[in-house]
């Protein structure tokens, strides 16, 4: 798994490539929490899943955890470029009910 972090105004854009499971999700969690800790100006998180090949409940758990972190800061978390097989998991887990999905990162930024 590879995590690419870029900044766009008050939003942190996180692009995850590869697989998010029990083995890799702690790295994902720590990376985002570290960024949020160091840059208090970030309010929103845009999660780009366009190159994420696999997520299971361990991965969804850390995504939900970050959703809670961002919500506590009064920000929004938006998933973008979500492949159909991952959207199905989001729906089944209930994450779709609380998290916004946008086609692209730019679309997400336009909603903030």
């Amino acid at each position: 798994m590879n995590i690419e972090v870029t900044r766009a105004g008050s939003a942190l854009v996180v692009k995850v490539s590869g697989e998010l499971d029990l083995s890799t999700s702690p790295v994902f969690r720590d990376k985002i929490e570290e960024e949020l800790k160091h840059f208090e100006s970030f309010r929103h998180l845009i999660l780009d899943l366009g190159e994420t090949s696999f997520i299971d409940s361990s991965g969804l758990g850390v995504i939900l955890g970050r959703f809670k972190s961002i919500s506590q800061r009064g920000g929004k978390m938006i998933a973008v470029n979500v492949p159909p097989h991952l959207e199905k998991l989001f729906a089944l887990s209930g994450l779709l009910k609380i998290m916004t999905i946008c086609p692209t990162a730019q679309d997400a930024l336009n909603t903030l």
């Binding site: 697989e19 499971d21 029990l22 083995s23 696999f54 299971d56 409940s57 361990s58 969804l60 758990g61 939900l64 955890g65 097989h85 998991l89 089944l92 887990s93």
Partner: protein
């Protein structure tokens, strides 16, 4: 269709979860599963093996046994650990139930949703055995080859 099987054992290390997904997906590809079905199988296996690592062995490392078979056109996946077992199986099967507040309690939900059949046998102190079965959707409307 010929019967085929594969049996592997590995330590309950998180890095072996992705390996188990690759093994099962490669084996399952012998049947006429769609890419979407293979994805569902990968998630179900990932959940079953993750449960062995997280709940079966907790802070210790033990052995996980993965038994795969193709019988009469059906994929059968058996995941076994010899860890602590499940105290209350009915409670464990409750959606969103988790012993860990950091987790969503969706592992068994995904396994049940994505496979045609799932059974769990568990004995506290002895371990847990999960059996999952799935048929390719494309083959369900047709007679089995050789019939």
């Amino acid at each position: 269709m010929k019967t085929n099987y594969l049996r592997v054992e590995f330590p309950s290390l998180p890095e072996n979860i992705s390996l188990s997904r690759v093994i099962v997906a490669s084996f399952a590809a012998q049947l006429d599963f769609t890419l979407s079905e293979l994805e569902e199988i990968r998630v179900a296996v990932s959940e079953a093996v993750s449960n062995c690592v997280i709940h079966g062995y907790r802070d210790t490392t033990g052995e996980i046994r993965l038994e795969l078979a193709i019988k009469d056109g059906t994929l059968e996946i058996v995941v076994i650990d010899y860890g602590c077992g499940i105290d209350d199986l009915a409670l464990a099967r409750t959606p969103a139930y988790s012993t860990d507040p950091e987790r969503m309690g969706l592992g068994l939900v995904f396994m049940e949703s994505f496979m045609d059949e799932m059974t769990i046998e568990s004995e506290p102190g002895k371990g847990t055995r999960v059996v999952m079965k799935k048929n390719p959707e494309r083959g369900k409307d047709h007679d089995k080859p050789g019939d």
